[in-house]
């Protein structure tokens, strides 16, 4: 079984352009998904620990559903099923009128999926903060939502920084499932290069290096961030580090 090596192909156009485009799409997809997942996940996490049983039920169900269905299946539901069960005009919007339907659908799916994982992390974070500070805030006259916004959540975020960073990295990796609905993210582009030039080893190696670079970049940024938001006097990070 012979293999013809040709590393130079990666530097040729259009293949180099494809790789760059794939990298940009992966980054964009991940960032959009994260911008949905973080607020949504935090909300669900708060609900899971709420006093109201309804809120706990909704939060709990959300996490159960989005955690027990494989992400690819979720994507197929969003992309193939949702537009068909909605009324015609809504379905048409999702399929045609919306800009970049495949990208948006993938970002939304990834966002909702990641939100369920962030919910679990944030709930743990809120528990770690403990009731003491929240009670003090309420006693001094803050409303429930003000307590969460100004006291509990900021602390919870800083305590949960390591698992959140880990989850952020996972989003970049999970973004590759978008290729199943035709989004030309990095893995898809590598696959495309392989199918046009048959230089699979080179193409996939390039993608591997680029994903590694993303990981390294995020971890480096995270270390800086962690140092800056270090909470003096709290043993909070114990147990949260993996």
């Amino acid at each position: 079984m012979q293999y013809h090596w040709n590393w130079g192909i990666l530097l040729q156009q259009p293949y180099l352009g494809w790789l760059v485009e794939g990298l940009l799409v992966t980054v964009a997809l991940s960032l959009v998904a994260w911008s949905i997942a973080l607020p949504l996940g935090t909300l669900i996490g708060v609900m899971r620990g709420a006093a109201s049983p309804v809120a706990r039920g909704v939060g709990g169900t959300y996490v159960q559903v989005f955690r027990n269905i494989p992400i690819v299946v979720q994507l197929f539901l969003w992309f193939f099923v949702l537009p068909e069960v909605l009324p015609r005009t809504a379905g048409y919007f999702l399929k045609r009128e919306m800009p970049e339907p495949e990208f948006v659908t993938a970002a939304v799916c990834l966002g909702f999926y990641t939100a369920s994982r962030i919910a679990v992390i944030m709930q743990a974070g809120i528990v770690s903060v403990g009731p003491g500070k929240a009670n003090a805030a309420r006693a001094s006259g803050m409303t429930l939502s003000q307590t969460y916004r100004h006291v509990v959540l900021p602390l919870a975020f800083r305590l949960m920084l390591p698992p959140l960073v880990s989850e952020f990295l996972t989003v970049f990796k999970n973004s590759s499932i978008a290729l199943t609905i035709g989004v030309f993210e990095l893995t898809m582009q590598a696959h495309q290069i392989e199918s046009y030039t048959f230089q699979g080893f080179e193409a996939f190696a390039a993608a591997t290096v680029l994903y590694g670079a993303i990981s390294a970049g995020v971890l480096a940024a995270a270390q800086i961030l962690e140092r800056r938001v270090q909470i003096g006097g709290m043993i909070g990070t114990a147990g949260a580090r993996r």
């Binding site: 494989p70 979720q74 069960v85 590759s176 392989e194 990981s215």
Partner: protein, 220 residues
């Protein structure tokens, strides 16, 4: 395609075909778990060992596989394993090898945490009774590590069960791909994907309940 009435009947009609796909999913899950655990344990031991080059190699392996998407690993192995082996290899084996090597990196981290959690007093006591390093590992450290990490390992097993659905990217006929074929051929995505989602949900939830129940039993 107007939303003509749904035809849920295609599910029972295609059940034998879907069941074949599910069998492949289950086989992949079981084998990936087994293989991943074995290689993962070896990697963990290597990383904690005293032979520096091996520890370094294991660390590199784990870090590389943990920074790439599983889809990329599947593509890698699917096309490259036959080239490297110099002989043809079935799609099932390529995908399985991909899963095993990928999951091994994650298992390695779990086992490594478990090993590090075993109190050093245990190791010292074991050595004092005359057991060799390897024997200590096999009979004292690893069993405790695995037992301590059982909840995490079980979670990982369920994750692997769901990850096998990614076989769809290379067209290996697992449960999802089988449903995919019917959805495309009969124009029934709603029924098929809803069915797939429900099945995965039910099976994963049951597995999760089973894991929690066994954990309670352990503590008792």
């Amino acid at each position: 395609m107007s939303s003509q009435g749904m035809d849920w009947g295609i599910i029972p009609q295609n059940l034998p075909w879907l069941w074949e796909g599910m069998q492949l999913t289950l086989a992949l899950t079981a084998l990936a778990n087994l293989g991943g655990m074995l290689i993962g344990t070896a990697l963990a031991v290597a990383r904690l060992g005293r032979f520096r080059p091996l520890a370094l190699a294991a660390a590199v392996y784990v870090n590389v596989f943990r920074s790439v998407p599983i889809v990329l690993a599947v593509f890698w192995f699917y096309f490259m394993v036959p080239v490297l082996l110099g002989r043809p290899i079935g799609a099932f084996w390529s995908v399985l090898i991909a899963f095993v090597f990928f999951e091994a990196a994650y298992f390695s981290e779990i086992i490594r945490a478990g090993i590090q959690g075993v109190r050093s007093g245990q190791v010292a006591a074991a050595r004092a009774t005359g057991l060799t390093g390897w024997q200590v590992l096999r009979h004292v450290v690893l069993p405790q590590a695995v037992r301590a990490m059982t909840p995490v390992l079980m979670t990982r097993a369920i994750v692997i069960f769901q990850d096998t659905s990614l076989a769809v990217v290379v067209g290996l006929t697992d449960f999802l791909t089988a449903a995919n074929v019917v959805a495309d051929r009969d124009g029934r995505p709603i029924e098929m994907y809803a069915f797939v989602a429900i099945v995965y949900f039910v099976l994963s939830s049951l597995a999760e309940l089973g894991a929690r129940w066994s954990r309670k039993g352990q503590r008792a």
